[in-house]
Symmetry: C2
Subunit: 195 residues, 2 copies
Amino acid sequence: MARAGLNAARLTAAAAELADEVGLEQVTVSALARRFGVKDASIYSHVRSLRELRVRVALLGGAEMTERIAAAVAGRAGRDALVAFADAYRRYALDHPGRYAATQMRVAPEEAADTAGLRRSVELTHGMLRAYGLAEPDLTDAGRLLRAALHGYVHLEATGGFAHPRAVEESWARSLDALHVLLDNWPRRADGPAR
Amino acid sequence: MARAGLNAARLTAAAAELADEVGLEQVTVSALARRFGVKDASIYSHVRSLRELRVRVALLGGAEMTERIAAAVAGRAGRDALVAFADAYRRYALDHPGRYAATQMRVAPEEAADTAGLRRSVELTHGMLRAYGLAEPDLTDAGRLLRAALHGYVHLEATGGFAHPRAVEESWARSLDALHVLLDNWPRRADGPAR
DNA sequence: GCGAGGAACCTAGCACCCCTAGGTACGCGG
DNA sequence: CCGCGTACCTAGGGGTGCTAGGTTCCTCGC
């Protein structure tokens, strides 16, 4: 009997593929063991728990995603950067729904062990927003709204929330137009009374 | 032994409470049976499957949510309506995280059996958007972006996605300001080239 | 008041899941 | 070629969803 040659990295990769194919919920120790032709218990030599496995998928997904976004945004600014950012974000989430879902997990800082990646990702968006002339605290507020809009859009789209016939691609493009306008006209504090 | 007096409605209500307390994932037939002091199998006299139970929670949550939003929006228009809508949306989601999570399920039309509620909810948002002078297809596009922003915001907030210290309440208020501005200046097709 | 029928709930059991404890066997460095 | 660590195993406990096939209780028409 040849050994399967398991290790944490291979397990994580397989779990990520599985998550994209059948959904993060269906990523199971048993399924993974089946895929490697191995007993469930063997998995636990390389990974502490199912939870840890999913966290690894989340970290993998997060890293891949910020990498893609960074590549897309590189050398662009303003509207171009926004569109590149958003398109890369959406594309990754749609191409890798399981990994993307994993990134949405609440993961404790000590589990992450990868604060650098996280910091890089927020720097990415802050850099982009600064190009719109935003500074703190508007930076944080606009960043939150932007993240919310992107995540919400992709999440709703992925879970079938957009039943209406109008093509999503078209709506997406228009929404990016709108977000660009929004960031260009972000209501600063001095501009008016706070609602 | 007194009968527990189960029925689908009571089960749904209990499942909804449970979902809000411990999360939708933890809503389990066994847990529900425990709560009623009854064996698992008894549940299946009233509900076909765990899936059906969760769908019922989703429908309940959806109905409650649109009702609250409708009450909040009633008699308002423009910015007031937007803020009332968004606040009611967010409040419901934060007060009832389990029910809210359930509403995010992909549910087939024949499972819903409640197209009226759904239609009412889209009419609610469309009515609000029309007050901003929007018409199809901008109505659909703006509606999608608005839903995405609200859902994304609430979802990120609920899953601990906003680690940054700046108070979420403040960010939220600013984001609503921004969304109002956005809807007021929605980039119509004629206004410029499509990116 | 009473039997029939249905509803409410049960026992028993399968399949699948996560995870632990304690082995066995393979292959590499000495 | 021999020890030893690592890769993988067997065995098993506990939780979960769900089904099949009872049994007991309540209600309702007579």
